[in-house]
C-alpha cells in the first residue's frame, strides 16, 4: 500500500541552528500537507503544497514539493525554542472512497536546546 516515509525520526539542535525534515512517498502525490504537534498538544495544519516544484514560506519555515511530486521537505531557519514539537507530512490516499483521507509520515521530533 501507499507509504509516506519521513526522516529523521529525531533531531536535536541548538537554538539558532537550522533544521530540515524530509518526506518521501512511494507514490506520486496530488498534494502534500504539513502539520505541527507541540508537546502535549494535537497536530495543527501548517500548509498544503499542490504544484510540482512548489516552494512556500511562512516566516522562518520553508516548504518544498519535489518536481516529481513524490517528496517534500520542511526547513526551519534559525530555530527557536517555540519550534519544538513533532512535524508530520501527510499525503492523500488514492483510490476508492478516499477523498479526505491522508497517510501520515512517522513524524520528526524536533528538540531545540537553548
Amino acid at each position: 500500500g501507499q507509504q509516506v516515509m519521513q526522516i529523521p525520526q529525531y533531531q536535536h539542535v541548538q537554538e539558532g541552528e537550522d533544521f530540515t525534515t524530509y518526506c518521501n512517498s512511494s507514490t506520486t502525490l496530488s498534494n502534500i500537507q504539513w502539520y505541527k504537534q507541540r508537546p502535549g498538544g494535537h497536530p495543527v495544519f501548517l500548509i498544503q503544497l499542490v504544484k510540482s516544484g512548489e516552494v512556500k514560506k511562512q516566516k522562518r519555515l520553508t516548504f518544498q514539493f519535489g518536481e516529481a511530486k513524490k517528496n517534500s521537505s520542511l526547513h526551519i531557519t534559525a530555530t527557536q525554542t517555540t519550534d519544538v514539537g513533532t512535524y508530520f507530512c501527510a499525503g492523500p490516499v488514492t483510490g476508492g472512497t478516499s477523498y479526505g483521507k491522508l497517510t501520515f509520515g512517522q513524524g520528526t521530533i524536533l528538540t531545540v536546546h537553548p
Partner: protein, 117 residues
C-alpha cells in the same frame, strides 16, 4: 474557529471492558476520522466516515468499531479492550472536498490518552 472536542483527555479501563471514545465537531464537516498515535509510528487511521451512518475501515481497524448517528458526532468503540490498545487516540474532522488536486486540512481534537490495565 473549528472545534473538535473529545470527551476525555485521560481514561483508564480494564482488559475486556467495552470502551467508548466520543468526538464532536462544531463546523458541519462531512469527514471524521479516528487515529491512534504511538511513538515512532506516527498517526495511523483506524476508521473514517464521510457521512452519517457511513464508515470505512482504515489501516488498523481490528478490535475497533465506530458509530456515526449524527453528522457532528463520531464514536470509537473498543469492543473488548486489550493492553495493546493502550495509546493516544486522536479524532479529526475535515470538509469533504478540497478541489481536484487539493485536500481540505484536518482539524484535530486534543486527544484521549487511554490506558488499558
Amino acid at each position: 474557529d473549528v472545534k473538535v472536542t473529545q470527551s476525555s483527555r485521560y481514561l483508564v479501563k480494564r482488559t475486556g471492558e467495552k470502551v467508548f471514545l466520543e468526538c464532536v465537531q462544531d463546523m458541519d464537516h462531512e469527514n471524521m476520522f479516528w487515529y491512534r498515535q504511538d511513538p515512532g509510528l506516527g498517526l495511523r487511521l483506524i476508521y473514517f466516515s464521510y457521512d452519517v451512518k457511513m464508515k470505512e475501515k482504515g489501516d488498523i481497524p481490528e478490535g475497533y468499531s465506530v458509530s456515526r448517528e449524527k453528522k457532528e458526532r463520531f464514536s470509537l468503540i473498543l469492543e473488548s479492550a486489550s493492553t495493546n490498545q493502550t495509546s493516544m487516540y486522536l479524532c479529526a474532522s475535515s470538509l469533504l472536498w478540497g478541489g481536484r488536486f487539493s485536500n481540505q486540512p484536518q482539524h484535530f481534537g486534543d486527544g484521549t490518552r487511554l490506558s488499558i490495565l
